[in-house]
Symmetry: C2
Subunit: 337 residues, 2 copies
């Protein structure tokens, strides 16, 4: 597959991701023993979007008080639920994202417990936080972070006696990298076809819901807009009929990210509408992918990882077809503001 090293993927995501299980349990158990009042998931751009699935999962599976907050806003808004008893969780590939580092310092100074997942070792973020999982590679870092976040979040739920299936779940987390790889292979041809068909499309509507809302928001903003300079509107399936639907014409590209959680009927509804109107409907549905060894019950959670990995295949083919490197920026980290 174009720009995909299977061996490296399995090494980084499967082997190394799982290598942190013991360390994660130790960290989370020690936080829980000390006691905490709530969890803040904090990030910016791709890394706040990465937190939204886990905020959704917590809200719909646990009574743990959780807040996903955009780093820069969090620091100025005087959030009254934040205190020294809060647990603040961050992720960063480079460990240098300005707002994330600043937010971690902000939380640390106020006595909260801070935990970060970082790819690059010995970076500002790894230095600031109380607990850090450093994965050591920028390659496949998002896939790895998702794996680690499953372990972190579900361990918190387990320790609150709200997730007795924890051990089974973790066994299935260990099967996830192979499931992702299968999905990526199964989808690769479709990703390429999409990129060929849409290389000149200048606007996409992306619709998602539930634990896939974060991916929807992120892919539109961080990939299509930032890395390909294509206009993209992300819209929640539950909100689609309150405005954005009016822009759908017979040739509008509408991309639906379908997962398997409780909100799936909201996506079905958008699909019923869109297939009547546009000939350019793309449905990316995790139901189409086998996840060997993964139970029906947990597929919905793992959809987040599967969906993100297959979307990433579209990115590499868009890059090739549009002759537009994913790393190209007009302004980010190039212009002062």
């Amino acid at each position: 597959m174009l720009k995909f090293d299977e061996e490296l993927f399995l090494k980084l995501v499967e082997k190394e991701g799982l290598a942190f299980k013991g360390q994660i349990e130790e960290i989370v158990d020690s936080i829980c023993q000390k006691g905490y009042s709530n969890i803040f998931l904090i990030g910016a751009g791709g890394t706040i979007a990465m937190m939204y699935p886990y905020e959704y999962i917590l809200k719909s599976n646990s009574t743990i008080d959780v807040h996903a907050e955009i780093a820069a806003e969090f620091m100025v808004m005087n959030h009254r639920h934040f205190s020294k008893n809060s647990v603040c969780i961050f992720t960063s590939v480079s460990g240098t994202t300005q707002e994330t580092v600043a937010a971690a310092e902000f939380c640390k100074e106020r006595g909260a417990t801070t935990l970060a997942l970082v790819a690059e070792p010995n970076t500002p973020l790894t230095e600031v936080v109380d607990y850090c999982i450093t994965t050591g590679s920028e390659k496949h870092s998002f896939d790895t972070f998702f794996m680690l976040l499953y372990m972190v979040i579900f361990r918190f739920m387990h320790n609150k006696n709200e997730f007795p299936q924890y051990e089974q779940f973790i066994r299935e987390v260990s099967l996830l990298p192979q499931a992702i790889l299968n999905a990526v292979k199964a989808f690769d041809k479709k990703a390429e076809e999409f990129a060929i068909r849409h290389k000149d499309t200048d606007y996409h509507m992306m619709v998602g819901s539930g634990n896939l809302w974060g991916n929807t928001y992120s892919y539109a903003m961080c990939i299509l807009e930032e890395m390909q300079w294509i206009h993209a509107k992300s819209i929640h399936a539950a909100e689609f009929f309150h405005g954005t639907l009016e822009l759908v014409l017979e040739d509008t590209s509408v991309i639906l990210l379908k997962g398997e959680d409780e909100t799936r009927p909201l996506m079905d509804r958008v699909e019923r509408f869109a297939e009547k109107i546009t000939s350019q409907l793309t449905v990316i549905d995790t139901k189409n992918f086998e996840m060997p060894g993964i139970s029906e019950e947990f597929r919905k959670h793992f959809s987040v990882s599967i969906n993100w990995a297959v979307l990433s295949r579209i990115s590499v083919y868009l890059e090739r077809e549009r002759n537009h490197p994913l790393e190209l920026r007009r302004y980010y980290r190039k212009v002062e503001y």
Copy 2:
């Protein structure tokens, strides 16, 4: 002013809005006496967007546990913080918005306390809920709802001993309609100029933050997209630099909604960037409007109302300049899905 009846505005928003003060205090006090665990602000499209300012205000001023949730998602997600001890607040102009009515029924059936603000009397929503404020007119209903929501939300804060300035605040709420009217008059010419300049603009970026994020999201989706069929991307100021900025060119229309709360520096940062790049920058800043009799301390809260009212002036001129009635729909309530 085009399509603006001052006398009617003052009658509806000032006289009738304030007429509900006693009733609102009675309702909120009785809910507080009975006790509650948290507040759910529930809506769809414009009415969930209308709740976001109050979610922000609560989070940054109160320890009351608050959740703003999209109606259709809320009903399927099995929200673990929702219980019979929750207070659920809804607004609806027509009283018939499908998802809102369904969500109110859902909450009522599960024993939660339900409160709705509705313009039209004797409609499905007014029948369902435990407590209802029926304002009786669709004209200026959003302005009226904002007024009522100030009273509702700040009364909850007052009753939690987190807002000792309540009486002063309410006196200032009574001055708000006149302040809105002044702002609308001061802005009207600019609104008209904007509509003339942008009658053929096919894409706008709208940026906001803090308690104006809801207006930003709503104006892009419910006015520009739904009522004018113009592509619009709403983006939070704290997220702007993580993707969308790359699409700004020298002629991109960027609209900044500046308010006066703690997040203003985030908007300043976007402004510094945008003014370097595009010649089509529009800054709508509540600081430019006098609010006679309103204290510095509370201006930031009232920015929500002021901002929404002046934005509404743009709508009527866009309608005229583009010869596109605000009521025109391709699909909403016309196509089955």
